[in-house]
Amino acid sequence: MMTLSFNLNGKETKVEINPWDTLANVLRRNLMLTGTKKGCEEGECGACTVLLEGKPVNSCIVPAAKVQGKKVVTIEGLSDNGELHPIQEAFIEAGAIQCGFCTPGVVLSAKALLDMDIMPSEEEIKQELSGHLCRCTGYVQFIEAVKLASAKLQKKN
């Protein structure tokens, strides 16, 4: 066992882990943050996406020990005191959520994109979300949701 210290959703966090544990398993099993979903455990589907130092990663293939001293944001860290983040509102309003299993990961990738560029082009949206598999929506409403989120964030700023 080893002690992992990292910044999780803005809070300094310490947790005992096995050296072979993946970040997804530490989040889900040790820290009970089940908003991070496991769809394939081979880094293909994107459901387990979290932000590591602001960048989206597949937490199912990131060794937990690698995030020592780093900043990790999960879906649980996105809404503020129960208030939805504008990206989350946009996903609901655009009808971009069906079964919801891929949703937390997609929302986090959208956040990474919008943090980088508040007015992304359609091509940039597609590029940034291309690592996510969704079997329900056909992705059409993802694009609408990110555009809507962009408008909401611009209004807010």
Binding site: T34, E41, I75, Q88, I92, C99, S130, R135, C136, G138
Partner: protein, 761 residues
């Protein structure tokens, strides 16, 4: 007076979207019970082998292992649907790669995985049969020794006299088509948690599409009464037909939990999903089509040989749909179909969005198109000329009560022609074409004379909040929201005052489940009727309290209002409080069971068996790279007769998602086997559509106001995938003049077809 609270036809946000977007929604693998163990299953690495011995001693000795099972530890009951050929764990032999051989429950997933590796199985390899046509030949290895020629099921259907009609036709065409195995690939891996309660009852948490039928199947496997089992559904991460029926792991976790005396969780890995999740039934279809010079379609004959895989699940039923439904798309005078479902040593096939109907649509809609082109007829005109219409009684006895087929064909064709790109690019290397294909499907399926209904219960609490109970499952398609909209509309309350309860077979009213695109049409109608019944209780009691006649009272925004003087009113909250917390003892609760007014089918499968029939047409524009054979879908116009839109968000979501699956099925997804061994074992080699592969989709919604569905609504879940494939194949012929008759349409098939055509010219 019109009630101004209208939820029908609007763009309603899904009522459970907030839980999902915050990550709070609990799916199966998000659940943990105190003392819970984790299961793993040892699966056969061989497509066909006799089990000579199994040694579990090393696994049992591993610290942390709490139970190890082989077939001898399990109740010896066969289960399955029409053909009961499944046992929990393999008894004498294994019949496909992935077949369950042994199971372990341990303190952690890692220990369970380690224990599985310690189980020693001695196999004697048997000859493999991996092709249904070869499997039917005399002398072929038998998958199940008691089934002659490996034929699990056959149908011989005949209406009118095709031989006579073919003799009179101006043209008779014959050709062969095939479609392949495609995996459901829902994003949430399937699984179950089993817990034996102190009172001897069994609770199973699992995300089934049909909780009641699942409960009964688990009971059959365990040999106990169905009501000894409670099935509870957490959130479900997609199903698409592949989560309708139980899997072997459902009874296995129950037996593990019993033996270990602790709750046990089992979740499939993605590799196990690929190896064992029942894919589409894969048929080879011979078609014969008779038509007149003016384009009148007269007769259709089909011979179908379909792969059942190693065990029978829903494939017999799927073969029946495949054999019949397209006969009712056009006004054929006669049809004849002989179909065979054949065992092989491949993954058992079963239901996937379209349930057999998509496979025959690919063949027929491709075939009509190419036949028309051969004789210089316009395929779209031929489709319009022969399309089934409202008021028709089809040759299988379907009564067509609403039908927007012609309008769908017309619009799909018109809009795909608008804004077309040039027919050629890059000096002729890129060629573009358009194609149209149409479809019919059901909204419910009586299946003989059985029950095809749904039950619903609505209860209004003393604070005026409404609780809706149904036995139909929401896999993400949005049925909870549709039920809430229907209840809100009928009861005149705000949708935020409605809760649609999760599924629990002890509490939820009986429902057959989510398949046959029946949930809005049949389940929704049950909710509609329950809401009307409870509304009557509200109005009756309000009439007494307000001293106004019932027919002058309406419910509006949660208030019961006297229509002649709106200042006279009472809130639903006040009224319910008065009714429930007094000796008036008004239940404000209604339970109804609704069964659609269809008579079902006779022994010959003749009869009207679906509450409504749905129609649609897709227009597709593709481009083909003539150097590489690569096909790219540029635009899809998807026109669908939905009867009446309940939730525009939901309908558009179904169309976009269905088209994506339709393109994926046609161009990318393919389960590949080599002598029975699966080569596609994960999402790295089973190719799903990504956001970058999506074309522009224009959805065209046609409303025909079905006389039976709730507010006129019909199903939309499955129809959206059905016409995409043949429309793509038709567009490819339009672009490059070659006809691809086998799915999936891989670049190499297109490349060789183009080359072959070039050689002939």
């Amino acid at each position: 007076m019109k009630n101004d609270c209208s939820y029908i036809g609007c763009k309603q946000e899904f009522i459970d979207a907030k839980e999902k977007v915050t990550g709070k929604a609990k799916y199966l693998d998000d659940m943990t019970l105190p003392g819970m163990l984790y299961a793993k299953i040892l699966r056969s690495p061989h497509p066909h082998a006799r089990i000579l011995s199994i040694d579990v001693s090393a696994a049992e000795a591993l610290p942390g292992v709490k139970a190890v099972l082989t077939a001898k530890d399990c109740p010896n009951n066969r289960f399955g649907l029409e053909i009961t050929d499944v046992t929990m764990l393999a008894t004498d032999k294994v019949r496909y790669v992935g077949d369950e051989v042994a199971a372990v429950a341990a303190d952690t997933e890692e220990i369970a995985e380690e224990a599985i590796k310690l189980i020693k199985v001695e196999y004697e390899l048997l000859p493999v049969v991996d092709d249904p046509e070869k499997a039917m030949q005399p002398g072929a290895p038998l998958v199940h020794e008691n089934v002659k020629n490996n034929i699990a099921k056959e149908y011989h259907l005949s209406r009118g006299n095709v031989e006579e009609d073919f003799a009179k036709c101006d043209y008779v065409f014959e050709d062969e088509f095939s479609t392949h195995r495609a995996s459901g690939c829902y994003m949430e891996p399937f699984g179950a948690i089993a817990k034996w309660e102190e009172n001897g009852r069994l609770t199973i948490w699992t995300g089934l599409q049909s909780v009641f039928q699942g409960r009964n199947e688990i009971a059959k496997a365990l040999g106990i009464d169905p009501t000894m089992i409670t099935v509870k559904s957490p959130f479900v991460g997609g199903g698409f037909g592949a989560k309708i029926w139980i899997r072997n792991f459902h009874p296995i976790v129950a037996v593990l939990a019993k033996k270990a005396n602790a709750p046990v969780k089992y979740v499939l890995t993605r590799e196990e999903e690929m190896l064992t999740t029942r894919p589409r039934v894969a048929p080879r279809i011979k078609l014969k089509l008779g038509m007149m010079k003016d384009g009148t379609l007269v007769a259709k004959q089909a011979t179908v040989i379909a792969d059942n895989g190693a065990y029978s699940w829903a494939a017999p039923k799927i073969l029946l749909n495949l054999s019949m439904r397209t006969d009712c798309l056009y006004r054929f005078k006669s049809t004849k179909t002989d179909s065979y479902l054949v065992y092989t040593n491949l993954i058992p096939t079963s239901g996937f969005r379209g349930y057999g109907n998509s496979q025959m649509h690919f063949a027929l809609e491709s075939f009509i198109d190419t036949c028309c082109r051969k004789v210089g007829l316009d395929p779209v005109e031929v489709k319009l000329k022969n399309a089934v219409q409202q008021g028709d009684l089809t040759l299988h006895g379907w009564k067509i009560k609403s039908c927007g087929l012609k309008e769908c064909i017309d619009k799909a064709h018109k809009y795909i022609q608008e804004n077309r790109l040039p027919k050629e690019d890059q000096n002729g290397r890129i060629k573009r074409g358009i194609g149209v294909a149409c479809m019919t499907h059901v909204s419910g399926n009586r299946g003989g004379d059985k029950f095809d209904g749904s039950s619903a219960m609505i209860r209004i609490h003393e604070d005026g909040k409404v609780f809706v109970f149904s036995g139909e499952a929401d896999l993400g398609q949005g049925s909870r929201t549709v039920f809430a909209q229907i209840a809100a509309e009928v009861l005149g309350v705000n949708i935020s005052d409605i809760t649609v309860m999760p599924l629990d077979t002890d509490v939820s009213p009986f429902g057959l489940g989510t398949y046959s695109s029946r949930v809005t049409t049949v389940g929704g109608k049950a909710v509609y009727l329950a809401a009307q019944k409870v509304r009557k209780q509200v109005i009756e009691f309000a009439s007494k309290k307000l001293d106004k006649p019932e027919d002058k009272l309406i419910i509006k925004n949660g208030n019961i209002v006297f229509t002649e003087d709106e200042t006279i009113s009472i809130t639903l909250k006040e009224l319910c409080n008065l009714g429930i917390r007094t000796r008036e003892a008004i239940p404000f609760t209604a339970y109804i069971t609704y069964d659609p007014p269809t008579e079902g089918t006779d022994a010959n499968f003749y009869g009207d068996y679906s509450s409504a029939y749905t129609y649609g047409a897709h227009g597709v524009e593709v481009e083909v790279d003539t150097v590489t054979g690569q096909v790219k879908v540029l635009r899809v116009v998807a026109a669908h007769d939905v009867g009446k839109v309940i939730n525009k968000n939901g309908v558009e979501g179904q169309i976009n998602g269905g088209v994506a699956q339709g393109i994926g099925w046609t161009l990318y997804e393919n389960m590949v086997f080599d002598n029975g061994k699966p080569l596609t074992n994960g999402l790295k080699n089973y190719i799903l559509m990504t956001i970058k592969d999506m074309p522009k989709i224009e959805s065209v919604i046609v409303e025909t106001n079905d006389p039976i569905g709730p507010f006129g609504a019909k199903g939309i879940g499955e129809p959206t995938l059905i016409p995409t494939g043949p429309a793509i194949a038709n567009a490819i012929e339009d672009a490059v003049g070659v006809r691809i008759k086998d799915l999936p349409i891989m670049p190499e098939n297109v490349f060789w077809a183009i080359n072959e055509k070039g050689d002939k010219q």
